[in-house]
Amino acid sequence: MSNAAEALRAVVLAGGLAFERDVSMRSGRRVSAALRHAGLDVEVLDADARLLPAMAEHPCDAVFIALHGASGEDGALRSVLELAGIPYVGSSSTASRLAWDKPGAKARMAAAGIATPDWVALPHSTYRELGAGAVLDLVLSRLGLPLMLKPAQGGSALGAVKVVTVQELPEAMIGAFAYADTVLIEQFISGAEIAVSVVDRLDGPSALPAVEIVPQSGVFDYAARYTPGMTEYFTPARLEKAVASRAAEVALTVHQTLELSGLSRTDAIVAQDGEVYFLEVNVSPGMTDTSMLPMSVSAAGLDLGAVLADLLRAAAFRADRPGLAAPVGG
């Protein structure tokens, strides 16, 4: 790690008011510990009414956003940081807004030639106005069964459910609409579930080893994500070399097509025929003890604290010298 990085004063934002507050708190603790271990001066702040006065009173060199869900990932908080001229790690408010909306991101990736499960995303009002039975009948005739239902925004699989029979569908719709006003219905693709993280320390985006996810229950739901022992992770994923390269290529395409910065994690399915299907991308990937980006960093032989410190240093450097690239430490 460089001397410049040691001098950095970083603020880690964790908590927030989104459904994933608990996950965010855990991410924030892990990130702050890693950064302190890397020698940075770190303060952890919640995204509440005390945030801006606190940051005005004690300015920092750069912010690491460990907020998950709305505000942290939908671009809103990033817009405020941009207004305040506070450098931060990660994607801009505009890019985050695009990535946050799962149907919008899928459409962009499909247009870029990346495979993604066929889908439809509709608000509750459409079902109410046109008749839910008629609309779902069309959806089923187009997408068939099984299906994946997800809130159009959000993470940690909250509100996401696999639908195998039509009998399950109405209740699954109600459950998903509890988390968002629009629900994404996707064709379910059977295959290996993988997560590919991308980091960019201003030397260009690099894909880290993919993590293959094998939940004990068969479903990578909230419990499977955050209960050690309920999911087996393979890092790198057990993929043939060509498929692993394709997965990395997909993650880099996502990162660059959506104009993401700093770090991202693309979730995908590798079908039986080796095709890599884009599912969604996270601009504020989880950093908990069971999260995939830290696993990928470790599998790549890197130190999490050093990588995050580099990202912070790059963010601070970029703010000081717009248009210039920062040297990579570590």
């Binding site: 459904f19 109410r128 909250l158 599998a299």
Partner: protein, 473 residues
């Protein structure tokens, strides 16, 4: 084409993964089910000031004379540190046990004909939760049966689950536990050749139902205990918090041998001190003391001294009246708001003491499924399903009025009303769908999902009948 490259060292060829838990083959069977939960995650936002929390049963401790309590505790350390910072008796401080008998006397224990009441039979515990855990450890082996009200205190169900006891629920109504339902449960057990290790009951201002067992029913239940040789565990943290009348006689005051009594200072003084007690027959007391010593050696000395000093030097009975007035005002704000703001089809209990209102949603709604919408609307409650060991209770939720100010309660109920309206709209949209008419229905049917999709059909009909005396609109 993008430049595809891997960061760091070349990939290794590992064939085995990691579950992130190297101890997974060592855990006790009782840990099964201890997993991360979406409900618990959603509660993480409850501490934020933007959220009106009608969820946690947190006493209004700021109504205490905090300066007096502070100087009292300071003096206990500076003036009596040799005792208050030292180990103590496994059974608990003798002076505190004497004062606990004074407190129990307010509900008829140790007065009149009850000559058995004695500080010797009091075991001080770390909150009554530890007391219940000790009682369950002493009586229950895995697979043993415990009878408990439907619904029942979630913390008690956790204790029973940890002991791998089997909970059988007994119906309640607006007057608490139904004696005839208890008789039926006991008859059924007898027919099976089994018996319950004990009945767990919260007779006063029930958590979560808010209802109270009348004197006549207490007598009927004690008579059933005699008839069926039933032991009763009476959990009574709220008995002194009645709004409109004097405390009812505790079950323990009518039966020295059939009832083990759990008491607590968490609601009448401070939950942060974690001081409760068990009042038990002498034979049971001996085992409880040994079990407690094995668990914690002794209850904390400082907090025991603090409670004893509080009872000795502060007007604690007057303070309970202060609490009652405060909670009455908040109860009124809750019930008035519910009456004004709840949609048709919602009904709720009308507590005359304690902390809780038990609310039943319109048919088809599920309080757990609705919870994210409520959190998004910045109001929190506890879904009813947690208060049942059998997974029922979907239509119910618990509201706690003890902590928020009345204006916040009104705002919280207003938000909750909007959430229920939205959920009703959603149910109206999707609830009327006949899955058999949808594309692919045949395939689905062949896959054997014979159960209806809408969870309303899964609501326990017994639970749905819990509140015949509830206020309804």
């Amino acid at each position: 084409m993008h430049n595809v490259r891997a960061a760091g060292r070349p990939y290794t060829c590992r064939v085995s993964g990691t579950r992130l838990d190297p101890y997974s083959d060592r855990y006790a069977a009782r840990t099964h089910g201890m997993t991360a939960s979406e409900i618990r995650a959603l509660f993480a936002v409850v501490s934020r000031p933007e959220v009106v929390s009608l969820a946690g049963g947190m006493p209004a401790v700021t109504a205490l004379p905090l300066d007096a309590v502070g100087s009292m505790i300071g003096d206990l350390v500076s003036g009596h540190g040799a005792a208050t910072l030292q180990y103590g008796s496994g059974q608990g401080d003798p002076r505190l046990r004497e004062r606990i008998c004074d407190v129990m006397a307010l509900e008829g224990i140790g007065v009149g004909d009850d000559a058995a009441a004695s500080p010797d039979n009091v075991v001080v515990t770390v909150g009554s939760q530890q007391g219940l855990d000790l009682v369950t450890r002493v009586f229950c082996d895995p697979g043993d049966i415990v009878l408990a009200e439907a619904p029942s205190y979630v913390g008690a169900l956790g204790v029973f689950q940890a002991s791998q006891a089997e909970v059988r629920h007994v119906d309640m109504d607006a007057d608490g536990l139904i004696p005839e339902a208890l008789r039926q449960a006991l008859v059924t057990l007898r027919a099976e050749g089994r018996r319950a290790k004990f009945l767990y009951t919260v007779p006063n201002f029930h958590n979560p139902a808010g209802v109270t067992l009348p004197v006549e029913r207490r007598e009927q239940i004690l008579a059933l205990a005699e008839e069926f040789d039933l032991l009763i565990v009476e959990d009574n943290p709220y008995g002194l918090l009645g709004f409109d009348r004097e405390p009812l006689p505790a079950l323990r005051s009518r039966s020295a041998e059939r009832v083990i009594y759990l008491g607590s200072f968490s609601k009448t003084f401070s939950p942060g001190l974690r001081v409760g007690w068990v009042y038990a027959p002498v034979a049971v007391r001996e085992k409880l003391v040994l079990a407690s010593e094995a668990q914690i050696l002794c209850p904390p000395s400082l907090t025991q001294y603090a409670v004893a000093r509080y009872l000795d030097t502060q007007p604690w009975e007057q303070q309970i009246k202060v609490f009652c007035e405060l909670y009455r005002e908040r109860r009124d704000a809750t019930l008035d708001s519910l009456t004004a703001l709840m949609p048709d089809g919602v009904c709720w209990t009308k507590p005359d003491g304690g902390f809780y209102v038990w609310l039943q949603l319109p048919k088809g709604l599920d309080a757990k499924v609705m919870q994210p919408r409520a959190i998004a609307a910045r109001v929190a409650y506890v879904p009813g399903v947690g208060f049942y060991a059998d997974g029922s209770g979907q239509r119910f939720l618990r509201l706690s009025y003890c902590y928020p100010e009345p204006n916040r309660i009104r705002e919280g109920v207003r938000r909750l009303g909007g959430v229920i309206e939205s959920e009703l709209e959603l149910r109206e949209t999707f609830g009327g769908i006949d899955p058999a008419t949808l594309h692919g229905a045949d395939t689905g049917s062949r896959k054997g999902s014979g159960s209806p999709a809408i969870r309303s059909a899964a609501v326990n009909p017994r639970a749905a009948g819990n509140t015949p005396g509830a206020d309804a609109r």
